[in-house]
Symmetry: C2
Subunit: 203 residues, 2 copies
């Protein structure tokens, strides 16, 4: 199988970190998103929604959506578990991963896509006001997370999970979205320091 | 256990349809969202993000996020499977459920929350332009879905799944969001007619 990869874009990075944590090696096909190659005829044929990453299985089956691709690898290579083992673990990690997506990742993405000049062709039409109102939402949410992280090492509990990957990528995505790092949130910053120093963070 | 329910709001309805499809009976605690009871001290204690539904287990453990709650019930009551059985089924259903959420449900929700007068206190600040640009995105996405549904009965393939629930609730949510039903999309309308006539649709 092979993974059509999108370089520095956040969703492709989520899948690469996931694979690195699992120790899975896979063929990457680079797609130059800055040159709009994700809207090429080739990628559109694989994914009519023109989003990356895209996983192509050996029989030609296509899987898209970051978390769907990660879940496929979790099923094929259950260890180390990044989605949980018991019913309660699975539900808890799903809850935290979604909280990270809906309240953190998507707000950072909205700020970036709707205010960054380089996104004019990507996000049509840009609504700068929508980008701007998302910046304070990110900090409000991280203030809640600072309380959560006061007494546990990882986003979803005592173990590293896919929710940490989503949150790490969202955190690094704050820079191009021009959202200042919340240095006053000591627990968030401690968590960020620990996540960033894992070898997978370089993926 | 008990489920803090939000009446007519779309996410609580997704969970109720899921439970109806599984044949699971559970104590519902009604929360009057029109009276802003989801921002009460009681609900805020259960979910600092003040969203519904919220599942409280018998030992007091709290689960939030619609799909996390559904996944918990899928693990406890695997039949009928609504998230898939094999690795590829699970990933495919995850992909389609996310496509329904990211490209359909969330665009309808943005149109509703950012333009409806009743949402002024809920969505602060409303950005009417953001609501407005989401309406044509919904129809563009449903045009793609019309092609997909030309040769299969359900959103994710040959079986009913959680992706059909997400899409059905999004479809009905178009009315308060003032998005016209795409009567010209025959396959989408056929699918909608079939989903609406399942007994679970009344949940």
């Amino acid at each position: 199988m092979k993974l059509y990869d999108g370089g520095r874009a956040p969703n492709p990075r989520r899948v690469r970190i996931f694979l690195a944590e699992k120790g899975i090696d896979i063929d990457l096909v680079p797609v130059d998103m800055a040159a709009m190659e994700h809207r090429s005829a080739k990628i559109t044929e694989l994914n009519p929604l023109q989003r990356l990453p895209v996983l192509e299985l050996d029989d030609g089956t296509i899987l898209t959506e970051t978390v769907a691709i990660c879940r496929y690898f979790e099923e094929l290579h259950p260890e180390p578990s990044l989605f949980g083992r018991t019913a309660l673990e699975k539900a808890t990690i799903e809850m935290w991963n979604r909280r990270m997506e809906l309240n953190f990742f998507m707000s950072v993405a909205a700020a970036f896509r709707h205010t960054h000049p380089a996104m004019k062709e990507w996000e049509v039409p840009q609504v700068p006001e929508w980008g701007a109102v998302n910046r304070p939402k990110v900090i409000e949410f991280l203030e809640i997370m600072d309380g959560e992280l006061a007494d546990r090492p990882f986003i979803a509990g005592e173990s590293y999970s896919v929710a940490d990957i989503t949150a790490l990528v969202a955190f690094d995505f704050m820079k191009p979205a021009r959202i200042e790092r919340p240095e006053h949130l000591k627990n968030v910053m401690r968590w960020y320091g620990e996540m960033s120093s894992r070898p997978s963070a370089k993926a």
